[in-house]
Symmetry: C2
């Protein structure tokens, strides 16, 4: 491999390879090696930190825009790490010629979403590059939260744990794809883009082992990462996967696998079986978790193996995303 | 103004206007309104935060590259704010087709410079966009430092204070320009790009009122900002401005004003007159401050006015950078 390919940004196998062979090789340290959505910096600051750049195309889509996404993505990475999101930084790279009206709409969304999520934008930066040197606007948000006693992480996952998701999958991926390709559905697919810290505050109980927001690479890639990090196997139940009819229809029509589609408003939760019912009903009582459901369980099988049971009773392997079929989803 | 122009990213007047009319309007809060190089977040975390995206072109130049710059720029923003830089996040936007060798050279520089500056890269993110949607690589670094008892800020500046700079000005600007335009000088101009926290630790004394690193917009723009924020006037002495012979020659040849050229390894320091000598000799004793000198003083005149005394004894106004003659300097 001599050049960067789109798949290096997929969140799937090539992304992991790049991280291992280049970033960890040169930059590796115990913080970076946590390899979680946010890094815990215990000690004096007692904070969690995460960073994310957003390059989504198109900038505006049903259910959100790049500004809303930039706040949600970073807030969610902190929240699933067990931290309380508090502060965001906001850095913009603008292409010469960007309409200021578009910029203002985006910044308004940043402001509204930050208010909704209870975070404060504490500093910013703006760079402008010549026409043709960037695509309209790229946004980086870096988030800082305070570490709580929500001790979650893949190392806590054990065989017997249950796998929950807080709602339908694939909505963000299909919303972006349909916007980009001009696809029309009877019921338009709206991105699920939302801050999840309120939902997590509502359902969290001790006994929640691990939380992740399955964005790039989707549920399949996220579960593969967790199964690998935890050294366990996982078994999903295909008929339990919550899909909106429009997403299901789009996937059938386009030959897409919903397990690989990005979500921007869902939490995957691994939970001890004894509290699974209570966590699930907490989720369902929250407006963002009404369609929460169990989708599988953790097993003692081959470490890193994720299987899915089909409606006909067969099992197939669900691997990590290979290649990149839908770049610039976030 | 309906569209973003390059000058919106200059660090000069249009950048300030965009911040005021758009970012502060929608996002304003007491943290953001500090309007300093880093934002102090007192309270539980007791931390300082800063964010910066880097879009410099070319990626590699005499004295550094975009990776080194991305570490230095953020470390320096923390250090001039009186904080001790501790942690950096690193977010990359890569253009499809970027040679992996180039990426590796850049990441190695990030690693080396972080080690030199004593900071740890704690988390990262990589996005890839299609060929033509970005220019090779853009880097965001966000920095976190611990707040010290170095209480510095423009509100502490008083008439009678002296203005020091830790070395020659304009080196980074001319290094980038000469690389970009293929200009050759007898003695090549090398960017001054360097982490400044060690230098600041070496010269700082109580009595240092304010520190800034004069990057985009140069010394002129930085002093205008400070004079405005402090409600004071400043008088510079043109014959004291330290210039390397090559930078001086380049400025004469190209009709550039060195006061507007970017620096990436210099600190502007406003200091109480009674400790100015000691601070200056501390600077000169450090390898990065050997050419430190007094360049002017603070006066009680018209708030926000920066004047320069020419070698012939006349005075002229030094205004903030207007427009943008050299985009993508950092």
């Amino acid at each position: 491999m001599e050049r960067i390919m789109l798949a290096h940004g997929s969140g799937g196998r090539l992304s992991h390879e790049l991280i291992r062979t280049l970033f960890q090789k040169h930059l590796g340290n115990p913080y970076l090696d946590q390899m979680n959505d946010a890094t815990l910096l215990p000690g004096r600051g007692h904070i969690a930190v995460t960073t994310d750049s957003f390059v989504v195309s198109p900038l505006f889509f049903r259910g959100g825009n790049i500004g809303k996404l930039a706040v949600c993505g970073t807030v969610n990475d902190l929240a699933v790490s067990g931290a309380i999101p508090q502060f965001l930084t906001l850095a913009l790279i603008l292409e010469e010629g960007l309409p200021i009206d578009d910029l203002e709409r985006i910044i308004k969304s940043v402001a509204e979403t930050a208010t909704e999520a209870g975070v404060v934008i504490v500093c910013g930066d703006t760079k402008v590059v010549e026409r043709g040197s960037a695509d309209k606007i790229f946004i980086n948000t870096t988030g800082i939260g305070y570490i709580t006693d929500r001790f979650v992480g893949p190392e806590r996952i054990r065989p017997g744990d249950e796998i929950l998701i807080t709602g339908t999958i694939g909505d963000h991926g299909i919303a972006i794809l349909s916007e980009r390709e001009g696809l029309e559905f009877k019921t338009p697919v709206v991105s699920d883009c939302a801050p999840l810290n309120g939902l997590i505050d509502a359902f969290y109980l001790p006994g929640v082992k691990c939380m992740r927001d399955p964005t790039r690479g989707g549920v399949a890639t996220t579960l593969n990462e967790l199964a690998e990090q935890a050294g366990v196997s996982m078994l999903l139940d295909e008929k339990q996967l919550p899909l909106s009819p429009s997403v299901e229809g789009a996937c059938e029509m386009l030959g897409l696998e919903p397990l690989y589609l990005a979500n921007e408003g869902k939490v995957l939760v691994i939970v001890a079986p004894e509290v699974a019912d209570e966590v699930l009903s907490n989720m369902q009582a929250h407006p963002r978790g009404r369609l929460a459901t169990r989708i599988g369980r953790v097993q003692a099988g081959k470490p890193g193996l994720v299987l899915i049971e089909t409606p006909l009773g067969g099992k197939r392997i669900v691997s990590m995303l290979e290649g990149e079929h839908l770049p610039r989803i976030c």
